[in-house]
């Protein structure tokens, strides 16, 4: 697959503090890439620099083979969906969608044709003459989506487009956006802080932390092979347990931990958090906390001592100095595996 968007050595400083620090990645044509990370990690700044709404201090942004750093946003042949939707409040839905085509002086008949096809795609037929103030969150989201699709730009940037919707609607829109993207062959760069969105929609995830890339990979590797302790503790709900042991950090996911009768790690139960399909048990082991995710409803009295155990192949090891992943040793870390 040909590379469509290439970002190399991109940096942006605010008052000498790097918001984006020398990041590089590539996006192939038709690929859906998620920029994931906690707030303040530089993901939105990166997106704005790709869009041209912010100027990078260093680095190159190539779209379809040409460097666009010095081009204005309108000349980069891309579309954008904003977190707040950025709909024009005084214009009807129809005028909002057609705004870009009118600004670019697209021919009237072409405007009509594209409007009709886009409106059908996002199902906005009955709302064309309404003002944005009369729309629900989901409908506003569709208008924003329609406005970006109607431009026929091959690259679409999305800045947390679902963060203002409720959980149920968000799930629906996730699959809808993904379907549209595949159908139209769009290349999408999607900014989000929600790991579920990134995991379920993206072909590739780029996880950012403090302006740098922690890991860029396919979604399953974030779960199965986190490269750093940051990734390990960011992905998964609840996050991975990190237990200091000798000179390493041992990582094990709560869903891989089970309670056993004998041959386990002695821990003291602190809390049982029932969540419907599962119960999350928080327990103390020496100075660290271990969470175990057990199916069904479990009630264990606080302060009681239970034995925890997991399979050696579910263990991850990290360097306790720099947090980087280290290859698993030949022997397991915890003595109970030998027993």
């Amino acid at each position: 697959m040909p590379c469509f968007l290439r970002v190399s050595g991109l940096s942006r400083y605010y008052d000498n503090v790097a918001a984006v620090d020398d990041i590089s990645f590539e996006v192939n044509k038709g690929e859906f890439v998620a920029l994931l990370g906690p707030s303040g990690c530089g993901k939105s700044t990166t997106l704005k620099m790709i869009a041209g709404l912010e100027q990078p201090d260093e680095g190159i942004i190539e779209i379809d083979g040409s460097n666009v750093v010095d081009k204005s946003p309108g000349k980069r042949n891309l579309s954008m969906v904003f977190q707040s939707y950025a709909l024009f409040p005084h214009l009807s839905v129809k005028e909002n969608i057609l705004f870009g085509l009118k600004a670019r002086k697209v021919h009237k008949t072409e405007q009509k044709k594209r409007l009709a096809s886009v409106v059908e795609m996002v199902d906005l037929g009955q709302h064309l003459n309404k003002k944005p103030g009369q729309l629900s969150g989901g409908q506003s989201q569709r208008v924003a989506l329609a406005r970006s699709i109607v431009s026929n730009a091959p690259l679409c940037l999305m800045d947390e487009p679902l963060s203002n919707l409720d959980t149920k609607l968000r799930a629906d829109m996730r699959s809808e956006i993904r379907t549209l993207q595949k159908k139209l062959g769009l290349t999408v760069v999607y900014v989000t802080h929600d790991q579920i969105e990134a995991m379920s929609m993206a072909d590739k995830i780029i996880l950012l932390n403090q302006g740098s890339i922690e890991q860029a990979d396919v979604p399953e590797n974030f779960y199965n092979k986190p490269l750093t302790t940051f990734v390990a503790s960011f992905i998964g709900h609840p996050p991975m347990n990190l237990i200091p042991h000798n000179d390493v950090l041992l990582g094990v996911r709560p869903e891989h931990v089970s309670i056993v009768e004998d041959n386990g790690l002695d821990v003291t139960v602190r809390e049982c958090d029932y969540q419907g399909s599962e119960t999350i048990i928080t327990a103390n082991y020496k100075d660290s906390l271990i969470r175990a995710c057990l199916p069904g409803k479990r009630t264990i009295p606080d302060g009681s001592v239970v034995k925890l155990r997991w399979k050696p192949e579910t263990e991850h090891l990290f360097n306790n100095k720099n947090g980087h992943r280290v290859p698993a040793g030949t022997t397991s870390v915890f003595p109970f595996h030998q027993l």
């Binding site: 946003p73 309108g74 579309s79 954008m80 950025a86 024009f88 005084h90 870009g100 600004a103 670019r104």
Partner: protein, 288 residues
Amino acid sequence: MQPTRQIQAWLLLLPALCLLVAFTHYPVIKTIVRSFFGFGTRWESQATLENYRYLLEDEVLMQVLYNSFLYAAITVPVSIVLAIAMALWVNSKMAGKGILRTAYFTPTVLPMISVANIWLFFYSPEIGLLNKLLGLVGHGGINWLGDPEVALYSLMAMTIWKEAGFFMIFYLAALQTIDSNLYHAAAIENANKWTVFRRITFPLLMPTTLFVLVNALLNAFKLVDHLFILTKGGPNNASNLLLYYIFENAFSFFDTAYAAALTVLMLVILVVLALLQFGVIEKRVHYR
């Protein structure tokens, strides 16, 4: 319970009501009544429409009305356009915009009397700044306030100078409430500056424009202070405005009855203008 609450409410309203009645409502009614009686203080005489009949025959009034409408028709739109332009300018990212904002706003802070005195120095025929400047390029100078063709326009220039900065503040406040993402969205679509202004900024400023328009129009009829300093309505009523004409009738000619009729006319004009504005423009204003 209910009646006592009613009484309490009226008692609380009483102080403000006293002032309103004494200084607004009673004078309005008195003025209307007064306009139906003859010259001077002959209260016992029969009610008459004589004052209103004279309104139609008064040639000076026709001149004054023409002046007033021309004054409003030019100062209001020009001040608004200037105010928007200045607001857009000082709202942009640039060095020294704080100083510029202050500079634009200063004329508003000054009392009209001081402003008129300052401009008197600009406009004076012999020693005035404007004629001095014209003299530098070899022009003989213009009699800014003495020439009947020019006097009214000289007043307009000063009024615009004073008003535009005031209206700029409203536009500046309105501009700062517009979501910057709207401009980002427009930038992505390659909309040029004029399109952005015509299709986004200006429509979103419409509520402010309506507010400013009403105020500007009222001000155009209410401002009279500068006439006392600059022209006293002259020469030959060339720069006389309705409110100053009312003053002249009441306190120079002591024809309070005719002044009352003129006042009623002015009230009617203002009410009609306000109704027109709210009726016509509100339909096209976008309120969020």
